[in-house]
């Protein structure tokens, strides 16, 4: 989230699209109700189903799963046509006026530079035209046909209300009414907040869905302001934290990337990361990347990371492909290219696409380790549980270790919530039996490996032998020790160049501005720098005071970066530093410095007349309507059909799907066609369950005891399916036998002139725990991901449904 949960109450329009906050984030959703009651906000919901969020909406519009970009590009067309944009904001704070290279084109569904053989783009034309001074050229009159705003206008011109309705199945009048509500927030003192979740990410075009709304928010001037923002309602309690700390194939702590094979040395790696400003006077924060990187390497390798060995650059693994994500991992497993797999609090047998493929992959491993408080399906994939998990144990040669761990109530530590708050929690009891913490277990495995390398030698032991481990209790490091290491310390006496103040060696740092690239500072996760200082554990702060009750609560816990609660908050004020919305200011310029209720996302004393733009992480300082080379499928979002779709792409039949989607041959063969699988399916959560854990909790297992699918009344009648009757739902990858819930909440849509039915598949069941046995929605879902992130396409795929008889009781 760019903003906080409570800040939602400041919105004038709340749009929930790509999520269902009332059911998936109930206690956060109360702030939407607060906005409705206290701020007269309008709640708009666009969703394939009439969800509980929709049931309290001021306006609901249905949409076919997987067509959000058509809808959102239609909104942009509407805003530009009606001139319902916040002009001063767009001119000063976005790249609308920057001029794009001459060779950049878009034709028949493809941008310039496409290579059909490699399914990838040469992106050299996807960038700004540079002037002789090295700065990007711009035309503040917006006359140049190749400036971003004109290219955007041209790009979205095809997304007429007729076309939107034809693709999305949303009736035109409903689409236009949503446009009107969105457009009302182009006034400088009005804000719309966008709340979204996996309903947008789990598509082959997921990242572009989100970019598309971010572009709308920039056009409306809704980024950085109170009640605005792009608010990703994230999933697990610490999914934000794990992303922040970089537990992803290509990531390092604080959103730095692992090097790749082409970055053969440290200077080459740095050469593409220390962005020089692309417009005069810009801050371009990433000029500091070297300080962040060297401080991380000092945290990891201490004295062994030196100037001479490039701060141990070669000890980091390098990537030969963009990602070894989950889909790739299970492809490798199925191809016999993997030996072992460790699942820490993760249940891939129920969570990953194409469950049959997951089971076959696990069966080919030499060993599988699970670390979990609960008895997961994954840890028992080798055991026969009947049709829900057919297995011949004797034939499966995988050694399995099921390690019992503590749960949240049995440990100290911090979690990062959606709003980037690091909140500390405390242990209330010991774990049952001899279950141990993940910290103790990971340390135990690491110490044993290190001992083996000390004794036996072996493949490249240096990073293992030199990894810092200076914890008071090395067997089971105290979470506070680890938090301090992430925060960072001075390694030598540091003298502040401006004030002359000295920070003594060994002192915990106050913020990332103190980090240096000469090896005199360490920080294990630079964005957390300031969370645990000499003043104590800032994450444990519990002062809920909230100036003007504007939803900031600056002294409750600690937010990254720098305890900033609203990202890009410089954009909440006009170029002269005066708040756009005087009733809900965030920060403003008082003549000598930036002041307000939040920590400025800007240099605190930088005079507005210096002309530095608010988006300080971008080298041009501007919000990007044109994404340059940062997205794999293009600088503007374009509608591509899901990999399994009931219709042809109405815009460009020759480019049906995301042209740069990575699809493995076996997975492509497992796609189904609309001839055999005529219905669109989408997965989702129920409010009574959280993924596959809550079926282990008795109350939740009673509240929602068994697997079912939701279908509309028209389809039910057509197929002779009764309320609560048994059905067989199949995709080309497998089938599920469960009950049908016949509902008024899903109605057929008219897509390209044809009636299209949507089937809802809640995802919570499996064969362990206290609920009744179920197959799991992932039995049906296709193994293909978003082309940028490889997030699997769970939200739009094809199935068939048939009435069946009750299974014979076992």
């Amino acid at each position: 989230m760019t903003n906080t949960w409570q800040d939602i109450k400041n919105a004038n329009v709340v749009i929930v699209m790509g999520g269902n906050a009332a059911e998936a984030h109930p206690c956060g959703f109360k702030w939407v109700i607060e906005a409705k009651i206290e701020n007269d906000a309008k709640l708009v919901v666009v969703d394939p189903r009439f969800t509980r969020t929709a049931s309290v909406a001021d306006y609901y519009a249905p949409i076919r799963p997987g067509t959000d970009i058509a809808f959102l590009n239609g909104v942009i067309r509407y805003l530009l046509d009606k001139d319902a944009i916040q002009h001063e904001y767009v001119r000063a704070y976005t790249n609308a006026g920057l001029i794009v290279k001459d060779g950049f084109t878009f034709q028949d569904g493809l941008f310039s530079g496409y290579n059909e053989d490699t399914h990838s783009y040469d992106k050299s034309t996807w960038d700004y035209e540079l002037g002789p001074d090295g700065y990007a050229k711009f035309d503040d009159t917006w006359q140049d046909p190749h400036c971003v705003i004109n290219l955007l206008k041209q790009h979205v011109s095809r997304y007429t209300p007729e076309m939107v309705s034809r693709i999305c199945g949303t009736p035109q009048d409903k689409f236009l009414h949503v446009c009107e509500l969105i457009a009302s927030t182009s006034a400088p003192d009005k804000a719309m907040t966008s709340l979204f979740a996996l309903g947008w990410t789990q598509h082959s075009v997921g990242a572009q869905n989100i970019r598309n709304m971010a572009m709308i928010q920039l056009l409306l001037g809704n980024i950085g302001v109170a009640g605005g923002g792009m608010n990703a309602l994230r999933g697990h309690s610490n999914i934000q934290g794990l992303t922040d700390v970089g537990l992803l194939s290509n990531q390092m702590p604080g959103y730095m990337n692992l090097p790749n094979d082409k970055e053969t040395d440290f200077d080459t790696y740095m050469s593409t990361r220390q962005f020089k400003p692309l417009r005069p006077g810009q801050i371009s924060f990433y000029q500091n990347t070297r300080k962040l990187f060297v401080s991380l390497m000092k945290a990891l390798y201490g004295d062994a990371a030196t100037q001479e060995n490039n701060w141990a650059y070669d000890w980091l693994p390098k990537l030969d492909i963009p990602l070894y994500d989950i889909i790739k991992a299970f492809e490798m497993m199925n191809n016999g290219q993997m030996t072992g797999y460790i699942c820490q609090g993760f249940n891939p047998l129920q969570a990953f696409p194409d469950r049959g493929k997951i089971r076959r992959g696990l069966s080919k491993l030499k060993f599988l380790v699970t670390m979990d408080p609960l008895d997961t399906e994954t840890s028992r994939f080798w055991q026969d549980f009947g049709p829900q998990n057919p297995a011949n144990s004797a034939e499966i040669q995988t050694e399995v270790f099921q390690l019992p761990t503590t749960c949240f109530a049995e440990e100290n530590g911090s979690l990062v919530n959606s709003a980037r708050w690091l909140q500390w929690h405390w242990k209330a009891a010991d774990a049952p039996g001899i279950a141990m913490s993940d910290i103790w277990i990971m340390s135990g495995i690491f110490h044993r490996l290190r001992e083996l390398y000390r004794k036996e030698g072996g493949a490249f032991p240096d990073p293992i032998l030199n990894l810092t481990w200076k914890y008071t209790d090395p067997i089971s490091p105290d979470p506070e020790d680890l938090a301090k290491e992430m925060n960072g310390r001075a390694l030598a006496d540091l003298t502040d160049a401006a004030t002359g103040a000295v920070t003594k060696a060994g002192t915990l740092l106050d913020g990332f501005a103190q980090l240096r690239d000469d090896g005199t500072t360490s920080s294990g996760c630079w964005i957390f720098c300031g969370s645990f200082t000499e003043k104590g554990n800032q994450m444990a702060r519990r002062d809920a005071t909230d100036p003007r009750e504007q939803g900031i609560a600056p002294n409750w816990a600690w937010a990254w970066p720098a305890n900033r609660r609203i990202l890009y908050n410089r954009a909440s004020a006009d170029p002269a530093g005066k708040p756009w919305n005087p009733a809900k200011p965030v920060i403003s310029w008082n003549g000598t410095r930036w002041v307000g209720i939040d920590v400025p996302d800007y240099t605190p004393t930088l005079d507005p007349s210096a002309g530095a733009s608010p988006f300080i992480m971008n080298d041009e300082g501007l919000g990007r309507l044109f994404a340059r080379k940062l997205m794999v499928e293009g600088p503007f979002p374009e509608h591509y059909e899901p990999l399994e779709s009931p219709v042809e792409n109405a815009l460009h039949p020759k480019v049906q799907n995301n042209p740069v989607a990575r699809v493995f041959a076996n997975d492509r063969a497992a796609f189904g066609s609309p001839k055999n699988f005529p219905y669109v399916a989408t997965t989702y959560r129920l409010t009574e369950h959280f993924h596959f854990w809550t079926k282990h909790a008795l109350i939740n297992a009673i509240l929602q005891p068994e697997e079912f699918v939701e279908i509309g009344e028209v389809l039910a009648k057509e197929k002779g399916i009764e309320q609560g009757g048994w059905v067989k739902v199949s995709s080309n990858r497998g089938h599920v036998v469960c009950k049908a819930y016949v509902t008024k909440r899903i109605k057929p849509l008219t897509v390209d002139g044809k009636p299209t039915h949507v089937i809802g598949v809640p995802l919570h069941w499996g064969f362990t725990g206290q609920a009744r046995k179920g197959y799991g929605a992932n039995t049906l879902t296709p193994s293909v991901g978003d082309a940028n992130t490889q997030t699997p396409e769970f939200k739009a795929f094809l199935v068939n449904i048939e009435k069946t008889s009750a299974p014979v009781a076992a």
Binding site: L374, E395, L415, E688
Partner: protein, 197 residues
């Protein structure tokens, strides 16, 4: 008189026992009845601040456990409720958070490390040393065999692709940092978390 939440509970409990029945005119028999009223159980419990383990709203919760955390006393969690001081949830919990006690005490909570040999038809209990020694051995043998120090072009790449890991997105950031360190020092690149699902 400023009262903490805990004192407030204790205070109202005692007040109820000592005075309200008396005020209703029960006299001495009221006192006898008041003495028999069972004190509110939470007044004897230890209160611990925590965060709901499920979604990323991260509602504040209060965990109540019996046992005073003395070395020889084993705490037992008896109640979990929303933290009224928390600025986001303000004491509320959803159907998942309200049932947290049931997941803490789920009958399928794991208690002992278990091992299933190749072709085995059931798990058997093993010691931590057995499990961790064996896992370390398997990992080292594979790493030594399959570690890629240089690619075909002769570039130092130091990666290990044949053993992978999924990290837990409900574990603490401190756990995740230690996990990151250990995993990357081995050169592991097949590494992911729940961000995608």
């Amino acid at each position: 008189m400023p009262l903490t939440r805990r004192e407030f509970i204790k205070f109202t409990g005692l007040a109820l026992a000592a005075s309200s029945l008396g005020m209703l005119g029960f006299g001495e028999s009221g006192e006898a009845q008041a003495a028999a009223v069972r004190p509110f159980k939470l007044t004897r419990a230890t209160e611990t601040r925590n965060t709901c383990t499920y979604c990323s709203v991260a509602c504040g919760i209060l965990i109540y456990s019996m046992g005073d955390r003395a070395k020889n006393a084993r705490s037992n969690i008896i109640h979990i409720e929303g933290d009224p001081d928390h600025p986001v949830n303000r004491g509320t919990l959803c159907p998942k958070g309200s049932a947290l006690l049931d997941v803490v005490h789920a009958p399928t909570r794991l208690r002992v490390p278990r091992y299933r040999p190749p072709g085995g038809t059931e798990f058997k209990d093993v010691s931590w040393d057995y499990a961790l020694d064996r896992i370390a051995r398997l990992m080292k043998d594979d790493r030594d065999k399959n570690f890629i120090a240089k690619n075909a072009a002769g570039t130092t790449v130091n990666r290990w692709t044949t053993v992978g890991m999924l990290a837990a997105s409900a574990s603490s950031s401190e756990t995740s940092y230690l996990t990151w360190k250990a995993v990357r020092s081995l050169g592991m690149v097949v590494f992911d978390n729940q961000a995608r699902v």
